[in-house]
Amino acid sequence: MSDPAFQPLVWLILLPLGWSTLAFALGPGRGAWTAIAGLATQLWLAFMLAVKVGAGGTAHAGPDSPMGTAVTHQVGGWGAPLGIDLAVDGLSAAMLLLTQSVALPLAVYARSYFKTGDPAGVWFWPLMGFLIAGLNALFVSADLFNIYVTLELVGLAAVALVAAGGGAQQVAAALRYLFATLVGSGAYLLGVALLYGTYGTVSIATLMPLVSADAPRLVWIAGGLMVAGLMLKTALFPFHFWLPPAHGGAPAPVSALLSALVVKASFYLILRLWLGPLQALLPAFAWLLAALGAAAIFWGSWQAIHAVKLKRLIAYSTVAQLGYLFLIFPLLTHPAALKAGVMQIFAHGLAKAGMFAAAGVMIKATGQDTVAGLAGTVERLPVTLFAFGLAGMTLMGLPPSSGFLAKWQIIEAALAQGHWIIAVVALAGGLLAAVYVFRVLRQAFLLAPEGAMAGGVAAVPRALEWSAFALAAASVVLGLRGVELMQLLGAGA
């Protein structure tokens, strides 16, 4: 373990960059096994890192920052503020663990999903590699400008995945998404520029005491720009306009990656700024964010209940579920609030990946992307329907799923501080989720109309059904093993 070359946090960035470059060199349609082997190793690395952080870290290279860092790495050996520091605390370790745990089953899923010759799958593997590398790099970075570069890496890879091999609808959705993500990171970059201008550094750890000591008006504007840009990238209501077409129109494995991980990255960053350098400033906006979150829950659920297409329904459900994340901001003084937020990130990440994967199976089997077309699928695709149901259970927040744990903690933190309104919103959101989940399940249990299924349900590879099931089941089982995750969050903070 003391070998300087064995540093999980560094390899979590180098490895996906390496295998995506290799997949690119191997050529069109190649690289699936490279990706799966790489992701399996990364999952192991993320686990090792979480164990290390949970145990208190080894304080390698550099003192503990005020961010409560457990494991740090000074790239180039210079150290902040001259160089760039990487830092992993409980929150980052949790995000890394989630990223690899969602990506690995989805890679197995995608290998079966993109049959040879599918134009959407030609460059899928290197694109996915850059996406995962960008996410991992974002979660470990402790430098605001470096984070800008990782944001662009994630954003461009995500846009390319939406558009790859698609028709006019996908290309239009990708363009909408591209402009949203570029304006979002542009606003973030301007905020970083203002911070650098004010203090002369972009290192998170160096900035913390400086901002707390003295924050001129310019820093407030910088904070506002950064958070606004990241809200746009997280698709918080009313900035959600780009999400449903992009997540609803992309191929199922891509939708799953985007909904489960990509939108969480920008949310993570808001949280990171909130708990870190902008600590003194942001609480002024806490209720604004919570109100937008509540609006997202109601608007997203309403749209999901009325969606015609299956994947649209799931995409609107993402808009709603992202709303929960913003409910925690007024509650953050209570320790349960952060735990609730991270549990919700995990619950939604696993469940939504499972749900999109299951939807992909149903669409492949029935040949159409509509809720109405699902009639009769329960007999042919029991595993997939079960997966969809389990994922739905997590989204509704039923015990013993991780979604239940997340909502329970939000409500606990809300009631402890007398903010019962937040508890009411959280409960109402669960009921609305039940409406759209049961809308799908009810349709699937209906008998197929005569003649409509003339072609029958097409056979679907087992790997598709079972990887969807694994993700959905994980979202439920995590509810039983949530304590370990919560302990990790306490570490290094």
């Binding site: 470059t21 290279a61 790239v75 001259l82 160089g83 760039i84 662009e152 550094t201 310019l218 504007i221």
Partner: protein, 217 residues
């Protein structure tokens, strides 16, 4: 209506932000001091190159990944299309470009070499080479690109791969991209040479790949 509102909001934003900039005291930290103080160990004497490839070399590593990704994204978005067949330009123009190309290569090599101690470096050198490739295409002396074959893909990825490999190989030194001071100059030159080649190919590729969908069915 929407138009007026957006323009008004933008104007107010610019005024508020501009106003907040006017009476800003100097920052608490001045990175010019450590940049200059460590220049001796950085392996180059031009401060911007030192920041770009040493102090903040990790940013540059990820930035090359973004550029390679953009090329890959364009390949994925446009799919299989036939390359545009260039129309042959006037012979005088062709001769001019033929003469200019070796000159541009010399300029690129100079820029690459100069980057160590004065303005210049891999990006500028790569851009000049890319411009030469685009000119050759525009006057009809070289064809457009199809889906790149193995050799071309290796060339496109080489710069990033070398950079990544050096970054990883330096881990036993204690950290990612931690150049030993005595070898820093040579390693940076190695990375920059590989980057120049790949950047030229990628930048030219952005143009040559985009200009091909002309002939798409």
């Amino acid at each position: 209506m929407k138009r007026m509102v957006v323009i008004a909001v933008a104007a107010v934003f610019a005024m508020v932000l501009g106003g907040a900039m006017l009476d800003l005291p100097l920052g608490a930290i001045d990175l010019r001091i450590p940049v200059a103080a460590n220049l001796g160990e950085s392996g180059v004497s031009h401060p911007v190159t030192a920041v770009l490839l040493n102090y903040r070399g990790y940013d540059t590593l990820l930035e090359i990944a973004v550029l390679l990704l953009a090329l890959l994204a364009i390949l994925a978005v446009l799919g299989e299309t036939r390359a545009a067949t260039p129309r042959a330009a006037h012979p005088v123009l062709q001769t001019l470009v033929r003469l200019a190309t070796p000159l541009m290569i010399v300029v690129a090599v100079y820029l690459l070499w100069a980057g160590a101690f004065r303005p210049g470096g891999a990006f500028q050198a790569g851009a000049v080479l890319a411009a030469a490739a685009v000119l050759l295409h525009l006057v009809g002396l070289s064809p457009g690109w199809n889906t790149p074959r193995l050799k071309l893909r290796m060339g496109l990825a080489a710069g990033f791969a070398v950079f990544l490999a050096v970054a990883a190989a330096l881990l036993p030194q204690g950290a990612l991209l931690r150049y030993p001071p005595e070898a820093a100059g040579a390693l940076i030159l190695l990375i920059e040479s590989a980057l120049t080649l790949s950047l030229a190919l990628i930048l030219a590729g952005l143009f040559l790949l985009l200009s091909r969908d002309e002939e798409a069915p």
